[in-house]
């Protein structure tokens, strides 16, 4: 039912092979009940470090189609390193119930060429 796992969560000390670009750092802010930015555009095959930080309480970040999940806490940013290898649109959502707008707390990663 789901596309194959499209991204490989690599360790944060990814060794860069010759033709890969250096990781791009993208910051994602979570606050009740939205992510900023709500849409993250990434380039296929370009390594990314997603830096997740909450501006209020505890949230989650879960992109099941990309095999990515992390808590998103205030003060201590979490980092997810990965390289998207497939084009497409992949939803992410908050998976730690956080209040009345929790059900709408979601965003999208768009992977382009």
């Amino acid at each position: 039912m789901w596309p194959l796992l499209l991204a490989v969560a690599a360790s944060s000390c990814t060794t860069l092979s010759g033709n890969e670009d250096p990781p791009r750092v993208v910051t994602l802010e979570a606050r009740r009940f939205a992510y900023t930015p709500a849409v993250i555009e990434l380039n296929k095959d370009q390594p990314v470090i997603l830096e997740l930080i909450s501006k209020d309480g505890l949230h989650g970040f879960n992109a099941p189609q990309l095999g990515l999940r992390s808590d998103v806490a205030p003060q201590a940013p979490a980092r997810l390193s990965f390289t998207p290898h497939e084009k497409g649109r992949f939803l992410f959502h908050c998976d730690i119930f956080c209040g009345s707008g929790h059900d709408e707390m979601s965003g999208e990663i768009v992977v382009v060429d």
Binding site: G60, L91, S100, D103, E108
Partner: protein
């Protein structure tokens, strides 16, 4: 031989009456079936306190109408179960209790022998089920009724949507005790299987629960959370989600983000409803019938 409802009605000779009066199959089973036949009613996702008229133009009237619909049934169910999200969540602990109190006072108007409750994340995830337990008791429990065993699971009091090790352990020991000659019915708020994980329609450790349930030959799961009817098998286990009593959500086959379906003035209460479930100790498959609420 397993009879379909239609076959049953034909054989019982009351099919015409049944269809012309809108009497339901489950009630007919209770009325005319074997002595061990009974039925219960599942209600779900009432979200008492939700008041966005775009999605429900009658937020304070829908639940009372569902109660009146059930009270008008000629043959009463043995019990009614609410599978979670009784109230819409709020940050204010006093307001949460006010909503629970109002909800409960309406639910108690049901003219049935017993009303059972389960929490949803809206009721229980922000305070680990504290307010819920004050009004409705344990968040998970077991009981048996006329030769059928029931297990109510709590996959919502943990804001991470986990059953947790303690509950899984309890389920494991319960499963070891159960008589496999009797059917097992499981209630939960969220789907135990990953129906649509990118819409949060899953239980983090639900697969472990399903593995435990697999040891039983006749298991049926009734759940809510997704605000629509949905039927799916995992192995021999049937999973049936119920409609909501506040607003429908988009079907899981929809592309993109999850969304609420707007209220339609031309078809008020469309997509909302209650469910009757006919059971017996001998019955292999639960008899399910969806009822519209009377307006």
């Amino acid at each position: 031989m397993k009879l379909s409802r239609r076959d049953f009605l034909k054989i019982s000779g009351i099919g015409g009456l049944v269809f012309s009066t809108g009497l339901s199959g489950a009630r007919v089973l209770a009325q005319a079936g074997g002595a061990d036949e009974f039925y219960f009613i599942q209600l779900s996702d009432t979200h008492w306190g939700f008041n966005n008229l775009k999605f429900n133009a009658d937020p304070e009237g829908t639940l009372p109408k569902a109660v009146a619909t059930i009270n008008s049934l000629q043959h009463k169910p043995d019990f009614v179960v609410f599978t979670g999200d009784l109230t819409h969540t709020t940050d204010d602990p006093e307001e949460r209790r006010r909503r629970m109190k109002q909800f409960k006072s309406i639910a108690e108007r049901l003219e049935v022998a017993q009303v059972r409750y389960l929490p949803g994340e809206h009721d229980a995830a922000l305070d680990a089920g504290a307010a819920y337990q004050e009004f409705f008791g344990d968040t998970h429990y077991e009981f048996s009724h006329r030769g059928v065993n029931f297990i109510a699971l709590d996959n919502v009091s943990d804001p991470r949507a986990r059953l947790g090790d303690a509950q899984l352990k309890r389920l494991q020991s319960k499963m070891a005790e159960l008589d496999h000659a009797q059917p097992l019915v499981v209630f939960a708020h969220r789907p135990l299987f990953p129906l649509r994980p990118d819409w949060d329609w899953a239980t983090a450790d639900g697969e472990q629960a399903i593995q435990l349930l697999m040891s039983h030959p006749r298991v049926t799961v009734f759940y809510g959370h997704i605000h629509q009817e949905h039927h799916q098998q995992t192995g021999h286990i049937a999973h049936h989600s119920a409609k909501s009593l506040i607003f429908p959500l988009a079907p899981p086959t929809s592309a993109g983000k999850k969304f609420k379906v707007a209220w339609d003035q031309q078809q008020p209460y469309a997509g909302l409803g209650v469910r009757q479930v006919g059971l017996s100790e001998k019955r292999a498959v639960a008899e399910i019938e969806e009822l519209q609420i009377k307006t």
